[in-house]
Symmetry: C2
Subunit: 158 residues, 2 copies
């Protein structure tokens, strides 16, 4: 896996996300990287990220899937375009839809692994499917439809 994460290439003005922004000191700052054709991120929950004692709350799992998937969508698009992640124009994706199936209670004392693959990639959207594993067990499965950030939204931020 490469040292630099997908999120480290996000344009500065789009790098404040609570889930994955490198410039959000309050947030999760997840880091996603290629591992062959899959993308992977690891995250260790805090004790207060609880659902019921001993288990991770579902909103965190949804957040990790969401941000890892939009990051994967960006990285896969750079790759499909045959260019480096630090080339222009910088790409940023937003979530059109998020689906999570919770398969097993997720232990809070384990490091979580989020592992994703690209199911579909077009000019406008990328569909990313993922699994969240704890101690080798798949605790949740995710599917995210990520869309290129609309230029109308980009302009609001410029």
């Amino acid at each position: 896996m490469s040292d630099k994460a997908f999120q480290d290439y996000y344009p500065d003005k789009f790098n404040q996300c609570y889930g994955c922004g490198s410039h959000n000191p309050h947030g999760h700052q997840i880091k996603s990287r290629w591992d062959g054709d899959q993308s992977v991120a690891n995250f260790t929950p805090e004790a207060y990220h609880t659902a019921v004692p001993g288990f991770v709350y579902g909103g965190l799992i949804a957040s990790l899937i969401d941000c890892h998937s939009t990051g994967t969508a960006a990285a896969a698009t750079y790759k499909a375009q045959g260019r480096a992640m630090d080339s222009e124009p910088g790409l940023r994706f937003v979530t059109a839809s998020l689906h999570v199936d919770y398969l097993a209670p997720t232990p809070i004392d384990a490091q979580l692994e989020i592992r994703a693959t690209v199911e579909e990639l077009t000019e406008k959207k990328v569909v990313v499917v993922s699994r969240v594993l704890a101690n080798g067990t798949v605790c949740a499965k995710g599917k995210v439809v990520a869309a290129r950030m609309p230029s109308s939204m980009e302009k609001l931020i410029d």
Copy 2:
């Protein structure tokens, strides 16, 4: 709307959730109440709950939908059983699946309203559909399948 929220009736041992637990000082502590046949919760994002500047990150929206829906599932089940929320046995639901469609960027400087209805209620599961509104605009729609907490999981917590 009644003063006491659904979450205020959760059994103490199941009331630590980061999204909705009354006993989680780090968490969102959302409060859901009936408003006629709909359930409603309000939440004001913090400045750091950002996706890109000016807008709420999707993981928070997913979390609010998730917790409001499992709370609604519990409240609707008490209602269907014709008993008060402080009667025994105490009910707690977990999320089997969560789906969110993000329809519009959600402004971070608005109070959010999460408004839900029960689409299906059986002995084992409750399907809850919801909308997240900001300044009167529907920014996201949610669908949660909530399942009665398995007794195997309850035992782990006892």
